[in-house]
Symmetry: C2
Subunit: 793 residues, 2 copies
């Protein structure tokens, strides 16, 4: 039984049918071989236990379906001369995609030791899920992939990211019915409301319903077809069904479905590009319903396997010990008639290769899946045009993200022809005060617009949807295909993508170890609307822990910046937008913030990553400090400087040094992070024996975690956010978390030995100020005038 819902229109010749089937059989053979065989790859002798891997680790269930897609993508790419990329969503799809890549030759070009012959086939089989070998997922190691099939949910968002601003690219995306149950995938369907048929390429989702996850049926596979169709049409797609359990009939149905889909895509693009049609269309998609573990053993040990969840992993599990399993495996492998598919030298036959396209058209050889080959440096304007003038620190105020917005506007403008820069965010571009970019490019929007709407445009490159998952997934896909971008997000809610950033960091770490993967643009976060300025949002919006999260990950990849003012933010942003292969986290405020450094000073300070602010302290080259005040983050810097001023006024005899840290990893030892400071430098900044009072943007223990190996660590006292959150004023937030200027002065007095009676009086004054604060805020609901009117003098 096999069907495509619509009229069959594609006529495959018998020859085509035969060669497509040969390719599919060859790929299936190679997938089984990878899971089972350690030797005898061409079955030139009867299968023996010694030919079988000692540990059978792999997943057959999804492979035949993926192979079928690979075969038929080959056909249409070749027939239509397409540039195509495929995102392989299903977990553990490695054997299939490796098979397809090896058959077309791209694998051996990438890994010459795995040659396209018998010896290479032997290596291909052996390395799979083997120590020192390749993972069972589609992964960075897989040619042609921009997507890891390990953690599920992101395939469709990655596919859209790849398609944006790639007008000539077809991005096919196989979505497993397991993955389809995840939240991120469920939200991704609506990405089509953001796809511009003029400037973007096409995404062709292929929902593969093989019916089962690890041990359960899948939700979508058990909906009546009419209900599923309503769902998919509701998502904005026109589904084309291919349903089959007959391997002999599948090819006609697949070919027809692909042709229908691609014709429809071509029509849509043509009408949008040539006729200027602006009506949103239902894009086609394919629903491929085939048995799990198709063409594998129908029954094993008396229970059904093919077409059930039992085919998920290794259908025959006891091959080395159980002669019946061994026999079944041999029958299974020989059912593909390998002697027709491979020569005696192991090379694929002409029939097998008949459908395979040439050169970079091959799925495993497209440069779009190795975006570093395509990426160009961003045209970065001179920062001096955007810098705020600073004659004297702490007098003028600017909203740092608004200043950054002007820079981003220019970048957006300068890429309007290249179209290789996008800004993503969950409905917060204007709230985060980056609205200036909208002067250069509006927000992408293909759905209905009304007269009251502002800044919506079919061709916009600012992307806003209330889904951090989609922002992240789109941007990852965009970067991995060789473009640039920035993700602006409320600090607390970036935790929504903790797991996605983990996977991206892992991807980058692995990619950096692969010489053939060229470096791509970094994934840049601007975290704003941060923990200290959530006046009306309160406790649920207060969480600085993303920094802690990323700093547990590979130090080669992660960078964290806490610019304390507008010019330092410009300098940091310039740096990260030029960088490659990193995950850069910038935390910066959107509220008015004192300007501390001129542009030149900011550049020099950010280049060092941490440094003494001589002008802020009372120690100097002649006068060693009695205490060091450290700070990282805009609000902590403000409080530290206010504390330094109080100390200068009240205890002028005390030698105070102020150290500001922009690049947090500098606190780590050099062995632990490429940005880590050597001992000499660290001790030079913080001393080995003086008390250090450190005000930090986030959880205080992070600073201890970074610096516990330092000589002076025992003297380090850190203040930061300790989950004392609520709806309140900015200054009350720092008071509640004991990071206010008064508390910091008290900390200094408590820790510098031998300060005497006058210091005790000052300490009491500080305690009184805190009491005054509590009374004032209860009555007025605002901050003390002495705080709101404060400036640096």
């Amino acid at each position: 039984m096999s069907k495509v819902e619509h009229q069959n229109s594609t006529v495959l010749t018998d020859e085509e049918l035969r060669t497509l089937d040969a390719h599919w059989r060859a790929a299936n053979y190679l997938a089984v071989g990878q899971i089972y065989l350690l030797a005898n790859p061409l079955l030139t002798e009867p299968l023996k236990p010694a030919h079988i891997k000692p540990r059978l680790l792999g997943h057959w269930g999804t492979s035949p379906g993926l192979n079928l897609v690979y075969t038929h993508l080959n056909r249409v790419i070749k027939a239509r001369g397409l540039d195509a990329l495929c995102v392989w969503g299903p977990g553990h799809g490695g054997p299939a995609v490796l098979a397809g890549s090896w058959l077309e030759g791209s694998y051996s070009e990438t890994y010459p030791d795995v040659s396209r012959d018998a010896e290479g086939m032997d290596r291909l089989f052996r390395q799979f899920s083997f120590p020192g070998g390749v993972p069972s997922h589609v992964a960075p190691e897989t040619p042609g992939s921009i997507h890891e099939g390990g953690e599920l949910g992101y395939s469709l968002a990655h596919a859209y990211g790849a398609a944006f601003d790639n007008p000539d690219l077809l991005v096919a995306c196989v979505i497993g019915d397991g993955e389809a149950e995840t939240g991120p995938l469920a939200a991704s369907w609506h990405s089509n409301k953001f796809l511009d048929p003029v400037h973007d390429g096409a995404v062709l989702p292929i929902l593969h319903l093989n019916g089962y996850k690890i041990a359960n049926p899948t939700v979508l596979s058990r909906l009546p077809e009419s209900e599923l169709d309503e769902l998919l049409r509701g998502y904005g797609h026109e589904p084309i069904h291919v349903t089959s359990d007959d391997p002999h009939e599948i090819h006609r149905a697949m070919a027809d479905a692909f042709d229908q889909a691609l014709d429809r895509i071509a029509r849509t693009q043509r009408t949008a590009r040539e006729d200027g049609t602006t009506e949103r269309t239902h894009w086609p998609m394919i629903v491929l319903r085939t048995p799990k573990g198709w063409t594998g053993p129908a029954e094993v040990d008396g229970v059904p396997v093919e077409g059930t969840w039992r085919a998920h992993q290794v259908p025959l599990s006891g091959v080395r010990e159980n002669p019946e399993h061994l026999r079944q495996l041999e029958t299974w492998l020989r059912s593909y008639r390998p002697e027709e598919l491979f020569g005696a030298d192991g090379r694929p036959s002409a029939d097998v290769l008949a459908c395979v396209p040439e050169g970079t058209r091959r799925l495993g050889a497209t440069p779009h899946a190795n975006g570093g080959l395509l990426v160009r440096d961003l045209p970065m304007p001179s920062l001096d045009r955007f810098a705020v003038p600073v004659d004297k620190p702490g007098v003028t105020l600017h909203e740092p993200t608004r200043v950054l917005g002007d820079l981003l506007e220019q970048v957006m403008r300068d890429t309007s022809q290249r179209r290789d820069f996008r800004l993503v965010g969950p409905d917060e571009t204007e709230s985060n005060r980056l609205g200036a970019v909208l002067n250069a490019s509006a927000k992408a929007w293909q759905a209905q617009t009304l007269q009251v709407d502002e800044h919506l445009d079919r061709h916009g490159r600012v992307m806003e949807i209330l889904s951090e998952h989609l922002c992240q997934g789109w941007l990852e896909g965009y970067l991995l295909t060789g473009r640039h971008g920035l993700f602006s997000c409320y600090e607390a809610f970036v935790h929504i993508v903790d797991s996605m950033v983990n996977q991206h960091i892992k991807w980058l770490k692995t990619s950096r170890e692969l010489a053939w993967r060229a470096p791509i643009a970094s994934l840049n976060y601007l975290l704003t609307s941060h923990v200290w300025r959530q006046d009306h949002n309160g406790f649920s919006h207060q969480d600085p822990g993303f920094i802690d999260h990323v700093l547990t990950k590979s130090p080669e990849v992660v960078r964290v910046y806490l610019p304390p003012d507008a010019n330092t933010l410009l300098s940091v942003a310039d740096h990260v937008l030029r960088s490659r292969d990193y995950v850069n986290v910038i935390v910066a405020g959107k509220q008015p913030c004192f300007d501390w450094l001129s542009m030149d000073e900011a550049r020099a300070h950010c280049a060092r990553g941490a440094g003494i602010w001589d002008w802020a302290g009372t120690s100097n080259s002649e006068r060693e400090p009695d205490v060091v005040l450290g700070c990282a983050g805009d609000v902590p810097t403000l409080e530290i400087l206010a504390a330094a001023q109080l100390l200068r006024n009240h205890l002028p005899e005390l030698a105070v040094r102020v150290v500001n840290v922009v690049d947090l990893a500098r606190l780590l030892p050099r062995e632990e992070h490429p940005h880590g400071m050597g001992e000499f430098e660290y001790d030079g900044l913080f001393t080995t024996d003086k008390p250090v009072i450190f005000a930090y943007h986030g959880y205080p223990w992070l600073i201890h975690r970074l610096s516990y190996r330092r000589a002076g660590h025992a003297n380090l006292h850190v203040r930061g956010y300790k989950e004392m959150g609520t709806t309140t004023t900015p200054f009350d937030m720092v008071v509640r978390n004991d990071m206010d200027r008064y508390r910091l002065v008290m900390d200094v007095i408590d820790r510098v030995p031998g300060l005497g009676v006058r210091a005790a009086a000052v300490r009491q004054q500080m305690a009184d100020a805190r009491t005054r604060h509590h009374a004032w805020i209860r009555e007025h609901g605002t901050d003390l005038p002495e705080v709101t009117d404060w400036t640096w003098t």
Copy 2:
């Protein structure tokens, strides 16, 4: 214009119309008052700048719609005698829900100082978004709420969690069209495939399309209605539309929609419960399409506000300074005719209260939203029935999670009548070897079943869907309404819910400070398939960072346990299942693991949380240790014991102490965590001056972060996972991360001073063993026999 799609069937009398409208107007008045007023709550005098709050922090946009739902839920609850709970999804919905609760009296019963009179109204207004007051979201402080409206995406999953095993409960759930764009919400629609019409209550989703987010239109509001209908029917719902921009006509349409929906729900429940119908039904839902900021200022400063995104927050922003804004605010407030709604004493009029139900039927007074009032202790069986016999440590092997599965089977069985325990997981119950529970309860499944399926049942209490978000959201809703559960998850992928657990921890922290909120059952995680045992899954599945993540959060709430074997896992599981108001994280292996402790020893060890394993070391009461070997986690414990054995054999003169830590927070100082050890105890275990070699399950720096204040910290050397992940064997994983037995012995030799020549020879032997390992694995792809055959002797 106002319409309900179906034939109007509800006939409201003029009296009913009048009183419903009075309630809605009163609620709207109170919402505006909360955002703006500091005094003059009843407008007894003309509005003056002094009556206005100094900081206008609140969100009007969503309030009128929520108020409308509150009014009409009141009507049907009263008319039909329903037990109902409402989950208020939209962000910043605080003013509306506080208004509804204050009107019905539940607010004043919960907070007697905010009385239902003029003085209380004044307090209600003043406290809103005010320092020391209440947040602008629906939050733990809000009577009747189980859901915080801060981070968006989880309302519908919470609603289903509340409905499971609550057959007589109606759970209404208002979903904002912003929230509807998130991944978790998009996935939640399919929850209806898991809702049992016999044993579960009903969920009534109310999708509120007010058209805009912060600064953008919403995707769903801009779909053609036919496309939206297909989507919602594809989700398994029958949508009932209420579309209106005429406040005078809305009530008939709303009443009719609610009646249609509730009639349909009643019919479905009746046929399932009385007639035994098993066909899955399309549950009703309401699509409420009304203008954003409805009944607020139509235009401000010459631009449209009502019905646009500009109504999102504070429509009139300059009220204190701008007389025209002040005038508009007064007109707006008076448009609700407060003099008809409230007496001179501020009490709501009889008209306003006509629709309000009585007692615990009131939405703000339902005990289901204060689950601690309903929760009962779980019937926990004696652990001795499930314990594995241990005569001698390190000889027998068990799969800890399989042993736990037997215990959970019994709990599942003993709650089969009460139905107040559920096990959730993303398709991993059997993979995580907890399959025994399926003997007591199958997996919940309402969609189609086939003959090959196993363990699916319409009435099951094991919940599996490939969405960690849904697992978490369902369980949170279930716990918050007074039931129990366990979430079993692959360790790496629990990061998917990082942000959700943040919010739940914040909820619990705040709840614990509210005397009226009774303690609920803890949220318990079993993290298994952990970092060290991902042989075939590889790098993408290796991440132990969830522990780091939760340990940055409120110490009152979070607990982390690393039981090293089967019996300790039983003891820890027993403890967490009895506990209240915590988030408990258990990390335990599913692979065969040596049994170290008998049940009695395990109980004693877990009660202490950390202790010396005398039998494992060579130091004793007469012999102070030369070195301490610390361990936390099953794999680290194995390697530490193997190292201890090597030291005993090779360097018998060395006095070695082994300390195992089960409860990770014990390492913290007492001031930092309720489980923290005092100095005396810590130093007694780890000494203040001896080298400590600590093998830890996760990122090594966490142990430093927990113990940096300890006297002996400078002597602490931690081994753990450092992102050296790949597809490989179990032992190769520990070698790659330098946590293997040989490396640990080398660490000891490197750190204990004065060991001499023989130690140097032993060190070389250890280095040779690592070389042997590398060669063996390259050739065989398996672990060294000396490792796989190892036992404790």
